[in-house]
């Protein structure tokens, strides 16, 4: 008998024995542990311990914020900003949504949301990109206190007498002579504006990345000829397209 089959058989027997020996509570605990193990990013992957350490740091950072680092709508309490409704509470800051502009957004993809800080009672307006996803407070754990808003990271040190100029970091990688020729033309690299264009193009295309609805509401209006709002926005006026 080959080793693999033998191991599988042993595992099956142990599992059967365990099932008979364990109480229902213990079984539940075991299932939970098994789930945690198999859903862990380390399971069946060659991820290194140092990256896993970073993973835990990122998860801790993520828990303190409202916005997802990447668009992950539909899972783990994340929804698109455009799907927010009055009364929703953001998962990171605990801010309450007091007003949404009925899903209206500008062609540039910005959307405005009015929120209330439960601690101070003050209202403020937040502007999000259309594609942004936010995390809602876990409704199953409503008694838990909302995590405090992440502290603003202090900006980098500013050299005296040179306001606004970022000083060179203390630790840098110094270029070494003869190691690689200096490039003369930086144009070949991807510019931020180009990157943004690519994303906008994607969200305007008929094959969206994450949209539940295939055509954004403003695009529907624009295609149908109701482009006054679009023109208004170009002239600096507010616009409204409704679903």
């Amino acid at each position: 008998m080959d080793k693999k089959k033998l191991l599988e058989m042993v595992r099956r027997v142990i599992k059967q024995e365990l099932n008979e020996a364990l109480t229902p509570e213990e079984k539940e605990e075991l299932e939970k542990l098994e789930y945690e193990f198999t859903s862990d990013v380390r399971h069946d992957s060659a991820i290194s311990p140092s990256l896993y350490k970073r993973y835990k740091e990122l998860k801790a950072e993520e828990a303190k914020t409202d916005e997802a680092r990447y668009p992950v709508a539909g899972e783990n309490g994340y929804i698109r900003v455009s799907q927010l409704k009055k009364g929703d509470i953001l998962g990171g800051s605990g801010l309450e949504i007091v007003n949404m502009s009925s899903g209206a957004m500008t062609p540039s993809g910005k959307i405005e949301v009015t929120v209330k800080d439960p601690k101070t009672g003050k209202e403020l307006t937040k502007t999000y990109n259309k594609s942004t996803t936010v995390r809602l407070k876990d409704k199953t754990n409503e008694n838990a206190p909302a995590p405090s808003k992440p502290k603003e990271k202090p900006g980098p040190a500013v050299a005296p007498g040179k306001p606004g100029e970022k000083p060179k970091p203390r630790r840098t990688f110094e270029p070494k002579p003869g190691v690689k020729p200096a490039i003369k033309n930086i144009a070949a690299t991807m510019e931020e504006t180009k990157m943004l264009d690519k994303i906008v193009k994607r969200f305007r295309s008929s094959k969206p990345l994450n949209e539940e609805e295939t055509t954004p509401c403003w695009e529907k209006g624009f295609k149908a000829g109701y482009d006054e709002g679009y023109k208004d926005s170009q002239n600096g006026k507010s616009n409204r397209f409704y679903k």
């Binding site: 693999k4 060659a46 140092s50 990256l51 970073r54 740091e57 709508a73 110094e174 490039i183």
Partner: protein, 341 residues
Amino acid sequence: MTRLVEVEYDKIFSTKTMASLKGKSGESLRQMLGDKNLMQTMSRSQALLDEIISAEEGYRDELEMVAAQMVTDAYPIIDYANIKIDAKIVNMSDIRLPKPQSQNDPTLPDFGKDDPEKLKAKRRIINGITQGASIRGAFGFMLFKEYLDEINPELVVKYNEILKLAFGVYDDENAIAMLLSMIAQNQNAPGGESEMEYDEENEQFVIKAKAICFPMLVHEIVKGLYEIVGTQGFGMDAKKNKAIIGAVDKLSNEPNDLRFGKFFYDAISEIYNESNINDARVRELFFAEVYKLDENDFISFVENAVNDELTSAQLSWATGTMKDIEKDLKKDDTGLEDLDE
């Protein structure tokens, strides 16, 4: 005039270290390929690659952007050191086959007191670490599983499998022999390429990476990052640097760099992992400090780290260096100069 000859790992390390490296490689082979033989691995890799390329069709723009962003998140040193990333998913025909380098090296510089053999050995190990870091880093996409699941829930499983197959073969001596033979005949088909350049005008390093699919692109970006870190192992003499690169940075060295380099990387990054420091930027900056050690100290440090036999002096140096780096980073982050007190 003499020519710099190549340097192999078994000439650099002791028999004991080589035995340990080969043992780790054997374990890695089992972990990465399971019970698949070489032919099964190659055929499954090709089928998987076709499936991945097809699944990524239409998402390349996002995946390029996401690859750059993910590596920046996983390696915050990129942001701190203001490194620019230019990442592209391309067709296989767009990946250049590296030209075989000329063996002629007519103008050997005067190495003075430096021992060229030791300099080459150091460069070879650094190249190994670069490859090793990029193998380990390629699996970094697992950190962002939720996002990738949104595109296609099967992608992450396929990415994981293709990377294990693609890099697992480098732990198989038969596969290495075959790959070396393909390289000699210029028949190898790389899945990506990366290079780092220094933009003097903007005073920043730029990583240029191309690959045929997303996980390979992540791998190439991380390789570019570690190539930048690797430059810190050079001195300030351009002629010596060029001669060392000419002698060591060869395609034919890559299979064994990929095979053993991941264990050099693991050994050094483990020193960071076990420290009480929780600032991922320290990791790459610590590698840079290790690379700045002189050749003898460097080789001894890496060898002892691989064998888990760092001396107390080496451990104390490593701990002190990481703490100094962390302190400097805190000063940069907070703008406070009096953190030394």
